[in-house]
């Protein structure tokens, strides 16, 4: 019956704008920054929707508006058919939020205390909470350490507790703001598995992330936001088609410097070079329509004391599409 009310759309955003006004010393307006410049998108009920973009693009602003923590300066946003400006408390009762990072928990008390507190704060019937909370702790793998102070938890454990906290009141919609940030691969994988499970429960999920492979893996549709505007919105495979004209040469090298990377960028028909030079084995990804044809040029530019350990021609990924979209 709730679905009927909001036409199967859990989130509806129309022309959403958010401006920040910096005032000069004497109170006059010195600068207007547009964090969001008229964005539109929908999320269907039960969908797992991703929002990706560089820092400062407007992801956090969007999330804050949708979770009723920030008022928009223009446009409209509806959560489960309810207006974010008017039906604040009703929306909050029905959504769960996971903030990324370490904040959002009371560290000096136990996980159990945290869940009980938030359960009461969200109006969950105490009789129900008695059953639900232990189940949640079990589900996120914290049951045997539930009585310990959160300050003793690892980052991964805290993140799992965040998820339990977001679910404690059985929300219909979940907003996950970079939930795997700072986690080791095992911890991040656990979180992703939980996200999939929550979607299977029929929950609608809005996920923001920095990790393209995560968006590609989990999300049914992804919106790419850059400088306050949505520059693309589609399924991950469709987004990748935007870069189907290019191939990606991935090199694993030893002993290269940034000079080499710069020289690669200057090669003809090279669209983009992304490199990770910090580890012992450096990874360089070169985007070019030439594909394998570029290899001789790439090899000849190599300094004598460096070595290419491995080279692969790859299909472009969501990250490649993303980079093209946000850099244009």
């Amino acid at each position: 019956m709730e679905k009927a009310r909001h036409n199967g759309k859990a989130i509806e955003v129309v022309g959403l704008t958010r401006e920040y006004i910096t005032r000069s010393f004497f109170g006059g307006v010195s600068r207007v920054t547009k964090a969001l410049d008229g964005i539109d998108f929908d999320v269907a009920t039960g969908e797992l929707f991703g929002l990706i973009g560089p820092n400062g693009a407007g992801k956090t602003t969007t999330v804050k508006i949708l979770t009723t923590l920030l008022t928009p300066t223009g446009g409209e946003a509806k959560i489960l058919g309810l207006d974010v400006n008017k039906d604040l408390y009703e929306i909050r009762r029905r959504i769960g939020i996971v903030f990324g990072g370490e904040r959002g928990l009371y560290n000096r008390v136990s996980a159990l205390d945290n869940l009980r507190y938030f359960s009461d704060l969200y109006g969950v019937d105490p009789a129900v909470a008695k059953t639900r909370i232990p189940q949640l702790l079990e589900a996120v793998g914290l049951a045997d350490r539930a009585q310990e102070r959160v300050e003793k938890y690892s980052r991964g454990m805290k993140q799992r507790l965040h998820i339990a906290k977001a679910l404690v009141h059985d929300p219909e919609l979940l907003v996950l703001d970079e939930p795997t940030i700072g986690l080791d691969p095992g911890g991040a994988r656990d979180i992703r598995n939980m996200i999939r499970e929550m979607q299977k429960q029929g929950k609608t999920i809005l996920l923001t992330t920095h990790y393209m492979f995560e968006a590609e893996e989990l999300c049914q549709r992804v919106a790419v936001i850059s400088k306050g505007k949505i520059v693309a919105l589609d399924t991950p495979s469709e987004l990748k088609r935007l870069v189907r004209d290019i191939s990606v040469i991935e090199l694993r090298t030893y002993g290269v410097t940034s000079d080499y990377v710069e020289s690669l960028k200057r090669l003809p028909n090279v669209l983009r070079v992304v490199s990770e030079l910090d580890s012992e084995v450096q990874t360089i990804r070169i985007q070019s329509p030439l594909g394998a044809d570029l290899l001789p040029l790439v090899t000849s530019a190599l300094p004598s004391d460096a070595k290419i350990i491995d080279r692969t021609i790859k299909e472009p990924t969501l990250e490649d599409a993303y980079l093209r979209l946000v850099e244009e």
Partner: protein
Amino acid sequence: MGALSELAPGKKVEGYMAFRGQVLKACMILTAKLFFADPQWIIPSIIAPFIFTLVAFFLFGGQASTGSFLLYLVLGSGLMGMWGTTIYGSSNSIGFDRWNGTMESTLAAPIPLSWIALGRVLFNTFEGVINALFILVIGLAWFQVGFGVLNPGLFFLASVSTFLSLSAFGLLMCTIILLSRKGGFITNSMEIPVYIATGTMFPVSILPLVVLPFAFLLAPTWGIEAIRLSALPGYTGLATNYWLDLGILAIETLAYLGLAFFLFKRVEAYAKRNGTLEEY
């Protein structure tokens, strides 16, 4: 790990006051747990007032031999203890979320901020009462005086009323901390001035005229008067009547509450306009 699919559905509690009562209780419990997790609370609550009292005792010298005078002294100390927790505890009941990183979690809750603050403030004030009792007991034992109050019933009523007025004041201080960058400065600076202005150790009547309006606007000033009138034989103080004192106390307390709830709405609007109450 267990399955997220096997969770009991999250049925909500029905009713306006039932929900708010649950929130109040949850906030009181959480505040209590956080409070006991951190041993610093002793200082403004017990140590400072007790030392101030000991100094006053030595200053009082020979005069401090009569039972009722000692009781006066010890009561004053207890009252300072209650103020301590109000100023440091209650006024930071929401502000604490800022440096704890839980501000967003608090703002995202489906209940007005004022109710969360109220729950926390109530615990803090209650804790202040316990401190006051603790100081009272130590003081009475140290000075070896019996606890014979003039009229126990009226004393109890005055004490409870003062407790409520301190809660309301704490709630108001909470909004000031949140709304003003200098809020912390204001509340920290207030500690000794309120000991003076509410007449904890000496009657308000000896204060310079310029300070008196400030003193009279503090509801607990009247509560303290009522407490003394009901406890100490022969006490005249401001030459008011017990019921008049309670009346003024009640009016001012309600005014604080009204102002606090109004200001909390401003706090929430401000938070939403700017996306944050984080100052740090």
